[in-house]
């Protein structure tokens, strides 16, 4: 039995067969044993694609570790897959470790002999270890009784055996998960689980064991969008207005269930333009409101984002990035909405853009966004991405803020985003910022330029004044930004910069590179507009500065983030990885790229 500290595996089944459920149960079991877990679900692009087709690939990639982890790692070392078509399809993704063990269900082999042969050959040729198995006859019979369901429980049994977990705990969690099933069906599922477990031992394969870490601290299992939803409630937003769009929709789904219980209102608008309009109407009336969308919705909201700037009405927009341009790849990850967030609205519309690195950030970012939006009375855009929104993690329990007044925001929340408090008062274009209901404060706001008294004015002096004051607000934010988080060496050959969800990839790859004795630093930004003022100084400590991004770039075009860094620092920041393949970056990719970069440029 191999004791392991960090391991990645995956369960692949046809969509609709319950792979994710099985994964969840296993993950909860791990978590109860004190192990940290990161899960990336594999979700097909279609609602219910036909089974036994490549489009039907569904499942969960699970990374377990005895340390906190916040990325999915590089390659899967163990795979359990339902049939040959899925395996073939998944091979295309190049996500398997070169020594991976692949358990494939050969139950369909008779039906598709040739295909099984071809795929077996493919994995064997690639040097992987293929372990055929099948569901035993008893279990097949039960599955038939369950109308074809329950295979996932059998697989769960197999996995439980190989990962040496406590079957009694698994059983408890199965019972909890399926508590709505009729007792008889539930027992059949339990049986399948146990059958799988015992069958596994017959396969005579190595088992894996995690060091027992029994840890008394409370843990939570959350995906990014759920954490964001809870953060919205904790930070005191009272209205969410939204329109469905993948991958942002689940924020609305969560809040539809939760917000009313916490004194808030969930409003489904007729489109994204309307949703942000309602947010602005609410905030104008003094009630904090927020909306969430993804790329196409962000494009639609641009006009209202400009109104928020000009009329000085706070507004917070969450944008969960997905593959673009246009409809793009709705169920893949990218980091390419940075420009659109910072500069999408016409005219000079100063605003603040905050990205999230991980699931915890999702919980705390609404607090910071609200704090800045209300202090400066401008739009704040939160950039999450598909990866962060939909992957979930076991986390130490989060700290509630129960924020109502923005000034009560806790220091550790601001620290987390590497900023300090803003000045007590910040000058506004319009002197009077009262909200309806306040006696004597009657005022009119508008998207036209106004003078200090809030009256429309077309003069050059007044227009320039408004531009200055609006920009000054963002400058206050810039002044409040601390040196961004850094990893590894504080100076040296190369600095890897990134933002948003690449944080843990930077952290992990810098650690690995440092272990190899290379002089490498990492730098990660959460607030991406404005940029922290000391970047030039930080960058100057390294021979080379490179960015890694899930965004397209090449030798004739810098990525958006690199463009901003170059303009800000005049340092020749180039994209070390500037790819938009729809997949998150891997620590190992970064390690390899840095090694070869240093070989060419430093040690040459």
């Amino acid at each position: 039995m191999a004791e392991i500290k960090d391991f990645r595996f995956e369960l692949l089944m046809d969509a609709g067969n319950g792979a994710q459920k099985a994964g969840d149960i296993l993950v909860k079991t791990f978590a109860k044993a004190g192990v940290y877990v990161f899960i990336e679900p594999i979700i097909p692009a279609e609602i219910s694609p036909p089974k036994r087709t490549p489009h039907s690939l569904s499942g969960a990639v699970i990374r377990v570790s005895s340390d906190e982890i916040s990325n999915i790692g590089s390659y899967s070392q163990f795979v359990l897959v339902e049939h040959e078509i899925l395996l073939d399809r998944r091979c295309d993704d190049l996500e398997f470790d070169k020594d991976a063990v692949i358990l494939m269900d050969f139950g369909n082999e008779r039906r598709a002999k040739e295909a099984y042969e071809n795929v077996s050959k493919r994995v064997l040729d690639a040097g992987l270890n293929l372990v055929p198995f099948s569901i035993n006859d008893d279990s097949e019979a039960i599955i038939k009784e369950l109308n074809g369901n329950g295979k996932n429980m059998y697989y769960l049994g197999l996995l439980s055996y190989f990962f040496t977990v406590d079957t009694s705990i698994v059983e408890i969690i199965i019972r909890e998960t399926f508590k709505k099933l009729p007792a008889e069906k539930l027992e059949k599922n339990i049986n399948l689980f146990h059958n799988g477990y015992s069958y596994a031992s017959s396969l005579k394969q190595d088992r894996y064991e995690f060091p027992s870490l029994i840890d008394e601290s409370e843990k939570v299992l959350l995906d990014g969008n759920t954490a964001m939803s809870l953060g919205i409630i904790d930070s005191g937003f009272k209205l969410f207005a939204g329109y469905p769009i993948t991958p942002a929709s689940t924020i609305m789904h969560n809040l539809a269930r939760l917000l009313p219980a916490y004194g808030g209102t969930l409003h489904q608008a007729e489109d994204e333009i309307s949703a942000i309009g309602t947010v602005i109407g609410s905030y104008f009336s003094g009630v904090p409101a927020i909306t969430a969308t993804s790329g196409p919705g962000l494009s639609l909201k641009q006009e209202f984002i400009g109104l928020s700037v000009s009329a000085e009405i706070p507004c917070v927009v969450i944008n969960v990035q997905r593959g673009g341009p246009s409809t793009g790849l709705p169920t893949r990850t990218e980091q390419t909405d940075l420009f659109s967030a910072a500069f999408g609205s016409h005219g000079d519309s100063p605003k603040v853009v905050i990205s999230v690195a991980n699931v915890e950030d999702c919980f705390y970012v609404p607090h910071v966004a609200r704090y800045i939006a209300e202090k400066c009375r401008l739009p704040v855009i939160i950039l999450s991405d598909y990866m962060t929104s939909s992957s979930y993690r076991v986390l130490d329990k989060l700290t509630l803020n129960k924020m109502d007044d923005i000034e009560t925001i806790q220091d550790f929340v601001l620290d987390r985003f590497f900023m300090k408090r803003l000045p007590d008062t910040i000058e506004m274009v319009k002197g009077n910022q009262d909200t309806p209901g306040q006696t004597g404060g009657m005022r009119r706001v508008t998207g036209l330029n106004t003078n200090e008294d809030g009256f429309v004015e077309y003069s050059s002096v007044s227009n320039q004044r408004s531009h200055e004051i609006r920009n000054q607000k963002v400058h206050h934010v810039k002044d409040a930004l601390l040196e961004p988080e850094s990893f590894g060496s504080q100076d040296g050959d190369i600095l890897i910069v990134g933002w948003g969800s690449t944080r843990s990839v930077i952290e992990e790859s810098v650690q690995k590179l440092s272990e190899k004795g290379l002089s490498v630093g990492g730098c990660h930004l959460k607030i991406v507009y404005p940029l922290a003022p000391m970047l030039k100084e930080v960058f100057s400590r390294y021979k080379f500065v490179v960015s890694i991004e899930v965004a397209y770039g090449d030798s004739m075009k810098y990525t958006p983030f690199a463009t901003l860094l170059r303009s800000e620092t005049l340092v020749d920041v180039r994209g070390l990885i500037a790819q938009a393949t729809g997949r998150p970056l891997k620590p190992v990719q970064v390690v390899e790229k840095v090694e070869s970069f240093l070989k060419e440029n430093v040690n040459a």
């Binding site: 209102t265 007729e270 508008t446």
Partner: protein, 300 residues
């Protein structure tokens, strides 16, 4: 001892000076709105005038209440935000025919469907005023404009049919130059619970002087009904015809609407679930929790 509140006067409602063309119907709408507020002694600080962009969109600037002059076609979502945040406020929405029915058609449609509580005034001058004379969805067929110089091409939308087809809960039509009828209509609209759709024939002497003949009145028919209707304006339109109409009768309303734009009065009125009330009820029906419990169900 609480200070006694001073009665609201017309003067209290002035902010900056309007800058419309001479003879523009927006002036009389502004005065009518102020009159209505004075009649009802509405509190300025609890009143919000919301608008899109257009000549009509300037109204909020000239009313010394709270106000938001938003984006072209987008007044409805903003108004809804205000109503959801503060259902106690008096919310008036001011929107031109282009603002309402061209770029803003979808929001208006969903405002009507949601039936949230506000008074919606559609300023119908049958033209784009602020952008200087283009065809709007209510421009009469044949009228030459800057965008359709050989004559506007399509039959105009009938705003009353439109609102009826969408299931509006209150539908009336009045005219800017009909002083008492306008104020009385506002009154009915305001007292209705839900989205009160008020079509206002509005003069634009600058670009569409022939749209409404305000010196003659024999072309006008008033719909009247003791309970739900508005009295005919004998002073403003001495030669107008008067027609009894029961605003509770949908089929009748549909038929009468065929006579639009020559008919003024309350076309339709229905008690219907109000979106902001529904939301409040729904939220109230849910067990309220303390934020301390927020993470509980995610603990493993």
């Amino acid at each position: 001892m609480p200070e006694e509140k001073k009665a609201l006067s017309m003067k209290d409602l002035k902010s900056s000076d309007p800058r419309w063309c001479t003879g523009c119907g927006d002036y009389t709408i502004l005065v009518g709105l102020r009159k209505f507020m004075v009649n009802n002694q509405l509190e300025r600080e609890n009143t919000v005038n919301v608008s899109g962009i257009g000549c009509s969109g300037r109204i909020p600037h000239y009313m010394n209440t709270y106000g938001i002059h938003s984006l072209h076609g987008r007044s409805v979502p903003v108004a809804l935000g205000i109503v959801l945040a503060r259902p106690d406020l008096n919310v008036f929405v001011h929107s031109g025919d282009g603002d309402s029915l061209s770029i803003g058609g979808n929001h208006l449609m969903h405002g009507i469907k949601k039936n949230f509580n506000c008074v919606y005034l559609l300023f119908d001058n049958q033209i784009y005023g602020l952008t200087k004379n283009q065809t709007s969805p209510t421009t009469r067929k044949g009228l030459p404009t800057q965008s359709q110089p050989s004559g506007s091409m399509l039959e105009p939308i009938n705003p009353i049919h439109f609102a009826l087809g969408l299931g509006a809960s209150f539908i009336a039509s009045t005219a800017d130059w009909l002083g008492t009828h306008f104020v009385d209509t506002l009154d009915k609209a305001f007292k209705h619970n839900g989205f009160s759709f008020v079509h206002v024939a509005q003069r634009c002497p600058k670009f569409n002087p022939a749209a409404w003949d305000f010196q003659e009145s024999s072309w006008i028919t008033f719909l009247t009904d003791e309970t739900h209707g508005v009295a005919n304006d004998a002073k403003g339109a001495p030669d107008a015809k008067v027609l009894a109409h029961n605003p509770l009768d949908f089929d009748e309303a549909m038929k009468k609407a065929n006579g639009v734009p020559d008919i003024f009065g309350v076309f339709y009125k229905e008690d219907k679930a109000v979106y902001n009330d529904l939301l409040i009820q729904q939220n109230d029906s849910v067990e309220q929790k303390s934020r301390d419990s927020l993470l509980d169900s995610f603990i493993i």
